[in-house]
Amino acid sequence: MIASTKKMVMTGAAALLAATALTACGSDNGKENTASSGSGGKGVMEITMMNQYTSTEPPSEDNPIIKRIEEYTGTKLNITWVPATAYNDKVNVSIASNDLPQVLLIQDTKSSSIINAERSGMFWEIGPYLKDYPNLSKYNANELVLNNISVDGKVYGLYRARALARQGIAFRQDWLDNLGLSQPKTIDELYEVIKAFALNDPDGNGKQDTFGLVEAEDSGSGAGAVGLIGFQNIAAYFGAPNQWEIQDGKAVPEFMTPENMEAMKFYKKLYDEKLINQDFAATKQSKQQELFYQGKAGMLFPTLDFVITGGNELRKANPDAKIDIVSRIEGPEGERVFATTGYSGMFVFPKATVKTEDELKALLSYFDKIVDDDMMYTWTWGIEGIHFEKDASGEPAISDQTAYTNQVSPLKQLPSYDGALMIWKGKGEADNKFRTMMQENEAIAVSNPVEPLISQTAVEKGTELNKIITDARVKFITGALDEAEYNKEVEKWRAQGGDQIIQEYTQLYAELAGN
């Protein structure tokens, strides 16, 4: 009897729970319905979009910044948030099933499915419209970048502008101080610091239990993968080209240059002397950063803004830890860094969901509006009273860093410019420092000459072929291949389609230069 009563209570509770869940859903739907039905009457435009998030959870529905954008632009945003790690897959699946939002963020802009979609007329060509929008033509009309994203001379997307020179070196400043060393300025000094971090007990615990440098594999980058996350940095210091260079009119990939071999030998030395984590080939980026936060390694090669994000995490694990960054290392060819493409993904507007030119123009005005001066202020500081306070002189300062990190930062995926190069004094020393570095490094940034060119072979086979090279590079560093065997792998790359890529790039480059 008692058992059965208990059972009934349980069933009742379960039913109640289910009912509340159902009503919750119902009321949610209700809200959306009123919003969309109101769209006709009050002139509120509903925009569906798909975007990515890198935090552990997607931005919440009641995020104050989203509210702010909606009020400011007179829109209702209906955003599908997809985890960044699965984003490219989700885009390809959406394209394959033709199930598209009005605004689609595309990260892997050079994949064959995107290029095919663009060529088959799936998206609006927006290039000619950009000049009509004051803010977009300020932030999103850089000739070089437009050229980089164009396909057959046409621009199909609104790119998200990013700093051109983002890479650098982050390290434990407190360890440097403990060892009485100064920040590295040359390749030799860099090596000495890494060595001291590994062998001279920088954390003072009496044990030799740290790595100088912590590395991770970068297979997530697809056709752009080089094998190790930080390899591009070292290659740049040694004077290698940024992925490709043009020698006497002929395209030459970075991994066939002698400078690349120098950079690989540098890593090999670190590996052989056990100054770097020995399992780097099986280490993911999240694990890499974790090892840095836990004080098991003193250095890594991230983007320069890591000094803020990584610094926060590092201090959570160890409040006494200090982080700093450098970005200029003197090599045989002076100071140089690799340029990024200048953008991080782009927004496209599928014709299936954006039916008329007027709709497209309305969407572009929305994008124009969310990067005007008022909104750039919001992106930088958040909302007064929630994220920042003004002092007596009217100078803003972040008052709640956690709220800013949780509510504002993830939404910087939405606008077409993230304000990377805008320097605000109130943001603090570290923030100003990395932004100044990015600005100054644009002058020494080396770009990839074939970035705007589309080699059909590279589009079709690039990712698979690239694995030959990344694998060979990692194997050379761990000693599984010697120099001759590495060159044999390069020959394999050439035989399986690499020669064709070289030839296509050479020809396309000549055509471009001829114009």
């Binding site: 499915s113 080939a281 099986a282 079709e460």
Partner: protein, 322 residues
């Protein structure tokens, strides 16, 4: 399983009797209407989710462009199959997939049977139940977590196993970065995760063994081992055979997630399999037709294996799956 099969074949044998067939069929339909109703969801499931999507296989003979759709894309015949068979990677993929599949069949397939037999010998009912529940748990752990655990145990940078090896004076082993260890670790992970779950069907079969047979065997003075050999195993033999045949249907499915997470530059030569290749070519590079062709090739191999194994089983006097 056995009985079910028996009654099914019984039904099909009665069916072709000609005289007043329709009336009898109707009568039988009316009689068994609840059974057919219960069958309906299963049939619908197969039609909707297994047969209807087969239509999509046709895109492996096209240059499928989503925007142009199925009707607008060009037909290209066997182009994608030619590309697959001429790909220098093809033989490596085939070899890696076959070897991993063999490891799986040889080491993993018998494991649940052994475990189920061991569980069956436990006489304390409560302990047995608790054990059963506990060994199901790993099945519900996602691959990401399993691989994460494996990393923590096996890494050379402070992993438990390597620290232990170093403590007794051995040389650290790069389990995660060595082509020699890749297959063993993959198979061990599968065994850790799925062996417990795999015992369910065998335990069900074992529960159906007539206790009188054990009694009779005991009367004849058979030891526990003899009972196992002469009573238990023959009783579940047909279950084993059927599951084996079904397993062959997915022979080339090595599982994508696990391998994708475990693979890296230093073990790719033994780790790259069809499933990971389809992912890179199809999902990340958007070559839908080509990856469909690879998938179709895999299915054809699986189908041949099932039909072959079934024939073989019947030849040896077993029931087979059909």
């Amino acid at each position: 399983m056995n009985q079910l099969n028996g009654s099914l074949s019984g039904l099909s044998m009665q069916a072709p009797i000609p005289a007043s067939r329709r009336r009898r069929t109707l009568r039988r339909l009316a009689r068994d209407k609840w059974l057919y109703l219960m069958l309906l969801p299963g049939v619908l499931y197969f039609v909707l989710f297994k047969y209807a999507p087969m239509w999509g296989l046709l895109i492996s003979f096209q240059d499928y462009q989503p925007y142009l759709g199925f009707g607008g894309s060009d037909w290209v015949g066997f182009k994608h199959f030619e590309r697959l068979f001429n790909d220098p990677l093809f033989w490596r993929l085939l070899k890696n997939t076959l070897v991993l599949a063999l490891y799986n069949i040889v080491f993993f397939f018998p494991a649940p049977i052994l475990l189920a037999l061991m569980l069956n010998e436990i006489r304390k009912e409560g302990f047995k139940r608790a054990m059963q529940t506990m060994i199901y748990v790993p099945h519900f752990v996602s691959w990401v977590v399993v691989v994460g655990i494996a990393y923590t145990f096996l890494t050379t940078d402070g992993g438990v196993v390597n620290e232990a090896i170093a403590a007794i004076g051995g040389e650290k082993i790069g389990f995660l970065t060595s082509a020699d260890w890749f297959r063993s670790i993959i198979t061990l992970e599968v065994m850790w995760k799925e062996t417990g779950w795999g015992t369910i069907i065998f335990l069900a079969a074992l529960a159906g063994v007539d206790p009188q047979q054990y009694e009779a065997a005991r009367m004849d003075g058979a030891s526990r081992l003899r009972q196992l050999w002469h009573v238990t195993l023959p009783a579940i033999r047909s279950t084993i055979v059927i599951l084996f045949i079904l397993r062959l249907g997915t022979f080339l499915d090595t599982g994508f997630e696990q391998i994708f997470l475990m693979i890296n530059s230093l073990n790719r030569e033994v780790g790259e399999v069809f499933d990971t290749y389809v992912y890179t070519a199809g999902i990340t590079q958007g070559q839908f037709s080509f990856s469909t062709a690879v998938g179709l090739f895999k299915s054809v191999i699986g189908c041949i294996l099932v039909v072959g194994a079934n024939r073989l089983a019947r030849k040896f006097g077993e029931e087979g799956v059909y």
